[in-house]
């Protein structure tokens, strides 16, 4: 659906020319959620706006369904919808329904089609009973749901979401996430940027991490998380381990930490799938409450990649 190839953007500053985005390439297929992550100022929003046509790239191109839309924002607009961060996305003096009808007709729907589609979307995000309320009277969460509806009025095949759950309470954030999942199931390609790693991890099929304008990591979310997970095992026992058991574990020569008499942290050799069984054998007959392998989360991966301490692929 979306293919961004070698995007480059430079901005003039007092100190000279700054490369905000340096040969970034991204691809998102229909039905897929790509989390595009990076620290503040890394170039995420610039990249998203280049995809949307709001910023013209200095190099590279943007293809939507194979069609080059670089520098042709009106052509790109028919296929994409966007919820932009820091932008209100809606007219506060109009009601929820009036907003949707306005944005729908602006995107070439007839007023009748726009009204039908607006009803459908308001039902989807559970805002039907608020359709006649002006946007300024809605809560932040409701406004964000409505902004999402606004971006979906013309059934775009690519959805750009810049911080869609920022500042929302739990219920509103969950509702937005549920809608995003539903859209992906319906075949919409979604490019998501967020600083909320838990949201990205929950939603994204793939992740791409950008640092100072350059892409430093891309991959399937599950594979990335697995590659950053280490064979560190936490074992909780029911009752303290005897000194002879601890000595036996130490005898294996593996890094060991004993956080308490019933709490062990052991690092087994990389790639040795049988190691955990040998370890557990040594703990017999002490009852075991929990065996847990370290599983990296996206926040940890992000921290390592952005600080430059983690591997990048």
């Amino acid at each position: 659906m979306l293919q961004a190839e070698d995007l480059v953007k430079r901005f003039k500053s007092r100190t000279g020319l700054i490369t905000a985005v340096d040969r970034i390439s991204l691809a998102v297929e229909g039905g897929e959620v790509l989390a595009f992550l990076g620290p503040n100022g890394a170039g995420k929003t610039t990249t998203i706006k280049m995809v949307a046509g709001l910023i013209r790239p200095d190099g590279g191109r943007v293809l939507l369904d194979g069609l080059d839309v670089t520098g042709r924002p009106a052509r790109a607009a028919a296929s994409l919808g966007a919820v932009l961060e820091g932008s209100r996305n809606l007219y506060w003096r109009l009601t929820a329904l009036e907003n949707l009808i306005y944005w729908g007709t602006l995107r070439r729907l007839s007023p009748r089609q726009a009204r039908l589609r607006a009803g459908e979307l308001l039902r989807l995000v559970d805002l039907e009973d608020r359709q006649h309320n002006s946007v300024q009277t809605l809560s932040r969460g409701m406004q964000q749901k409505l902004a999402l509806c606004q971006a979906l009025m013309h059934r775009p095949r690519l959805l750009l979401l810049d911080e869609p759950t920022l500042g929302l309470d739990f219920a509103s954030a969950e509702a937005i996430k549920a809608t995003v999942r539903q859209l992906a199931r319906d075949g919409v390609a979604i490019l998501l940027t967020t600083h909320q790693m838990d949201v990205a991890q929950e939603l994204a099929d793939r992740v791409a991490i950008i640092r100072t304008g350059r892409l430093v990591l891309t991959g399937l979310t599950a594979e990335v998380l697995e590659s950053y997970s280490r064979p560190v095992w936490r074992i909780l026992t029911r009752g303290p381990l005897g000194p002879e058991q601890v000595a036996a574990v130490r005898g294996l020569g593996w890094p060991l930490e004993q956080a308490g008499p019933e709490d062990l942290l052991v690092t087994t050799p990389d790639g040795d799938a049988q190691a955990i069984y040998r370890l557990l054998e040594l703990l017999r007959p002490t009852p075991i409450r929990l065996v847990e392998r370290h599983q990296a989360d996206l926040a940890e991966v992000f921290q390592q990649v952005v600080s430059g301490t983690g591997e990048a692929s």
């Binding site: 820091g86 932008s87 602006l106 729907l109």
Partner: protein, 258 residues
């Protein structure tokens, strides 16, 4: 294009109906100004003012009001959208920026025109005064508004790049007021023709006056051509400059900045 017109028309109507105090206040101000012209001038001169003089003053004011709106609204709309954070969404629509803001400019003139005509009709009925109106005057009136839209597009171009430009907008509107009032077209000779073509609105307003029968002499065919040429020049310039400003704003990444 019809979808865009429909969208903006509906938004305009909602705004008119949703905030009746604004609409009513606007009509009250218009009524007061026009009533001042109808009744005040007679009081001051101690003589009935009617016919060409009244028409000149009233139509002149109405046209000036529309011209000020046509020149200022598109730039104001861009500033307002940028300030409120909706400009980027507007520019994500599948239309050229020129089309979107021109349609808004047209809707704004309609929004002004309807109350202006209503107030004028009311006052004519109330005072028994007689305004001279000839259908042919619609042509120079339209040329005047289209020229003003050209300048409005030019201001929109400046607003898209610089965003905060309300003071500059005021200065340009004052300059336009001077151009409209000053009898540039009466200068005669090559200078007169040249300035008539280059200075926006002056020649259109002169032709409008003659078409209404307010001016002493009828407009020559050359003046009509000048008015048309001037209109094409300024409207074309406005379209070209807003297109350029659009490219520049996207190039610099400042579309949504304020």
């Amino acid at each position: 294009m019809i979808a865009l017109l429909v969208a903006e028309w509906r938004r305009m109507l909602i705004d008119l109906v949703r905030y009746p105090l604004e609409t009513v206040s606007m009509m009250v101000v218009m009524f007061a100004v026009f009533a001042g012209m109808f009744f005040g001038a007679s009081y001051l001169t101690q003589a009935p003012i009617s016919g060409p003089n009244l028409t000149g003053v009233v139509i002149g004011y109405a046209v000036w009001t529309l011209v000020m709106n046509a020149t200022g609204f598109m730039g104001y709309s861009i500033q307002n959208e940028a300030q409120n954070g909706t400009l980027e969404q507007v520019m994500l629509a599948p239309w050229r920026t020129v089309q979107i803001f021109l349609v808004r400019g047209v809707m704004d003139i309609l929004e002004m025109l309807i109350p202006v005509l209503a107030v004028l009709a009311g006052l004519v009925a109330l005072s028994g005064a007689h305004l001279l109106w000839r259908p042919i005057a619609l042509v120079p009136a339209l040329m005047t508004i289209v020229t003003a839209w050209g300048i409005g597009l030019l201001m929109a171009a400046l607003a898209l790049v610089f965003k905060r430009m309300s003071q500059l907008q005021l200065m340009i509107q004052f300059a336009l007021l001077f151009i409209i009032i000053a009898p540039i077209t009466n200068l005669g000779g090559a200078w007169g023709v040249g300035l008539g073509v280059l200075a926006p609105l002056s020649v259109q307003v002169s032709v409008l006056h003659t078409a209404l029968g307010v001016a002493a002499a009828p407009a020559s065919l050359t003046m009509w051509w000048e008015a048309a040429g001037d209109m094409v020049l300024w409207f074309g310039l406005g379209v070209w400059l807003l297109g350029g400003a659009d490219r520049l704003a996207r190039q610099r990444g400042i579309v949504g900045h304020y």
